[in-house]
Amino acid sequence: MKRPGGNRQEVAAGLAWVAIGLGAIVIAGNYAFGSITRMGPGFVPILLGLLLMVFGAIGAWQGRRAPEVSLDLRWRPFVFIMGGIVVWVLLVDEVGFVPSTVALVVISAQAEREITWLETLLLAAGMTLVGYLIFIRGIGIPIAAFGS
């Protein structure tokens, strides 16, 4: 739907890219710029930052007439999927592969409302076993099954 006021979300996204481009340029200002014959490490990042600002501005301009963005941010999958990864990575070096994988499966399974506890537990057991056989026994990645 085209509204005369435009689409704020789209415009904001375009402006966010302009800001990122500007940030990239400011940081790259600390690196040697060099000349066009002998470019320093700052040359290309500054060029890219400028390009990002230009296209971000175009995006924001076009966004005024774009259809409404439907951001269906559903908290449930977001919390449980991201939470599962965070817990796994924090635990894996501390308590070992088995407990952290069980935690990952149990937490991330809650992203779906329909799953039963029996399914969750069977899945956790299955994934832990498969993962142990492939990655610890098979490939030999240096993680302990239990403990750090």
């Binding site: 990239a24 991201m82 599962g84 399974a109 992203a111």
Partner: protein
């Protein structure tokens, strides 16, 4: 080396028990991933990449490539049976495939798409064998200016020919290029954009980024959405097409193979575009275009031949120039580099066994897919009934352990989370994540060739236009950019694609 001694060499390499085994594993995994809606070949290659570290480069490449083209076969199954594309490249197949299912002709549709996929794939393999070494020969004369211009064309094409807004595609590419500058600048040794984080000094990890953008972001989008997944049973007897079906599909298959191969060779244009164009072309040449969308057999055979042909033909620029056609090929290229193989013109002479072995394995793999697909069709359909609530935690586990095992780094797993959020936001706002990944992978090479070209020309920017081959690629790039400035051109073409 001529074609036949090349094939003979390739047979020696590809017909060993080890190569056959990894080819079989690759195409089966690809088929499986392709059948599952939501997880594409890109995430699949990224997920299996860590496992291949411990293999011989040859076996690893055969397996990863198998996943890649195997997924093209599998993708059509969900498109036809559920009107839900297994991979984005088979979205068009649903337009006529699903109506065929509703008419009780699902078996025929699955059979035809398998045969046309095989035909398209084989056609393009012959092209790879004949043209990739020749292109490599030609590319021996390329200097940095030519490489820069070709990569620029590839990136601009990837940004503008995807099915979204071209300016958003350009933003994604530029953001990807910027991300590639994180870490140590190889020329001066300066650390860029590390924000004082030790792990960032080596740059961002490709696997972690791909998994975030294409694995976690997809899970976030699809989780907790109830889906009706009850594909009907398909019996072997129902697979057999009538003589009329075969008569109607062979010409579209040939045309689709041509369109697909052409698109595949272009840098920056991938199988999704090939399938769309083949479908649009078929509708245009058809005497009775009104049948399209209502179960026309031409509507499934042309795009399926095209996307498979394009996937195989995309190996031509990837192997000869080191320039991937789309994001999936870019990840495959990344995998090759991790195994210490850098595709470039000399590849065909210095690594002749690797090249011919790989190409012959494509043939073996396509044959395996044909054999796997038709008698086991019931099994693949059953995979569709595995509930997503069991699948998603399993996929998430493989993402975590897979990324961790690349360099035993918890930091890489955190990178996955960040790019999962980035990918989710990009999807929500209509920014395509695939061009971003392409920018990230080509970025270091692009910067290096840009700097080197201007060093050789003593700062004269005209070097890019004075060299004829480079000038041609720049002119093509400019033509693409100009077509953006004429909004009507793209809008009309998109409208036509949308209505098809």
């Amino acid at each position: 080396m001529d074609l036949f001694s090349g094939i003979a060499l390739g047979l020696d390499v590809a017909i060993t028990s080890e190569a056959l085994l990894f080819c079989l594993i690759g195409v089966s995994v690809g088929m499986f991933i392709g059948v599952l809606p939501g997880i594409g070949p890109l995430a699949a290659v990224a997920m299996t990449l860590p496992i291949t570290y411990h293999l011989e480069p040859m076996s690893a490449l055969i397996m990863l490539a198998g996943i890649f083209y195997g997924a093209q076969y599998g993708g059509s199954t969900a498109s036809i049976l559920l009107n839900l594309p297994g991979t984005s490249t088979t979205a068009v197949t649903a337009l006529d495939g699903y109506p065929m299912t509703k008419q009780g002709r699902a078996g025929v549709a699955l059979f035809i798409t398998t045969i046309t996929s095989f035909t398209g794939g084989c056609f393009a393999i012959i092209l790879v064998m004949s043209f990739a070494p020749a292109l490599g020969q030609m590319a021996l004369k390329f200097s940095s200016a030519e490489y820069f211009s070709i990569m620029l064309l590839g990136l601009v094409a990837a940004a503008t020919m995807s099915l979204g807004s071209p300016s958003k595609g350009m933003i994604a590419v530029i953001a990807g290029l910027l991300l590639s500058t994180v870490g140590m600048d190889p020329t001066s040794g300066t650390i860029r954009y590390s924000f004082g984080v030790l792990e960032l000094q080596d740059g961002l990890n490709l696997v972690a980024m791909a998994m975030g953008l294409f694995g976690v972001a997809e899970l976030l989008k699809n989780a907790d959405k109830p889906r009706e997944l009850t594909p009907q049973k398909v019996r072997l007897r129902e697979l057999i097409p009538t003589r009329k079906d075969l008569r109607e599909c062979w010409k579209p298959t040939v045309r689709g193979s041509f369109v697909g191969s052409f698109i595949g060779i272009l840098p920056g244009a991938g199988p999704t575009l090939a399938a769309f164009l083949a479908y649009a072309f078929e509708k245009r040449v058809s005497k009775r275009p009104e049948r399209f969308g209502r179960g026309a057999i031409e509507g499934i055979s042309a795009p399926e031949a095209a996307n498979n042909a394009s996937t195989q033909a995309a190996f031509i620029p990837t192997l000869a120039l080191g320039i991937p056609g789309d994001a999936g090929m870019a990840v495959l290229l990344g995998a090759m580099m991790m195994h210490g193989i850098t595709p470039r013109p000399e590849f065909f002479t210095t690594n002749a066994d690797l090249f011919w072995g790989l190409v012959v394995s494509f043939w073996v793999g396509n044959l395996m897919l044909l054999v796997l697909n038709i008698p086991l069709i019931g099994l693949w359909v059953r995979i569709l009934t595995v509930p997503q609530r069991l699948l998603f935690p399993a996929i998430l586990f493989f993402i975590c352990i897979g990324v961790y095992s690349v360099s035993n780094s918890p930091f890489d797993v955190m990178t996955v989370i960040v790019f999962g959020i980035v990918g989710y936001l990009m999807n929500a706002y209509g920014y395509p994540p695939a061009p971003m990944l392409m920018g990230f992978i080509l970025g270091p090479m692009l910067e290096q060739h840009f700097r080197r070209a201007l060093l050789f020309s003593r700062g004269d920017i005209m070097t890019f236009v004075e060299r004829p081959i480079s000038a041609v690629f720049l002119a093509l790039t400019l033509a693409l950019v100009a077509s953006l400035a004429i909004p009507g051109f793209f809008a009309r073409r998109r409208a036509r694609l949308a209505e098809d």
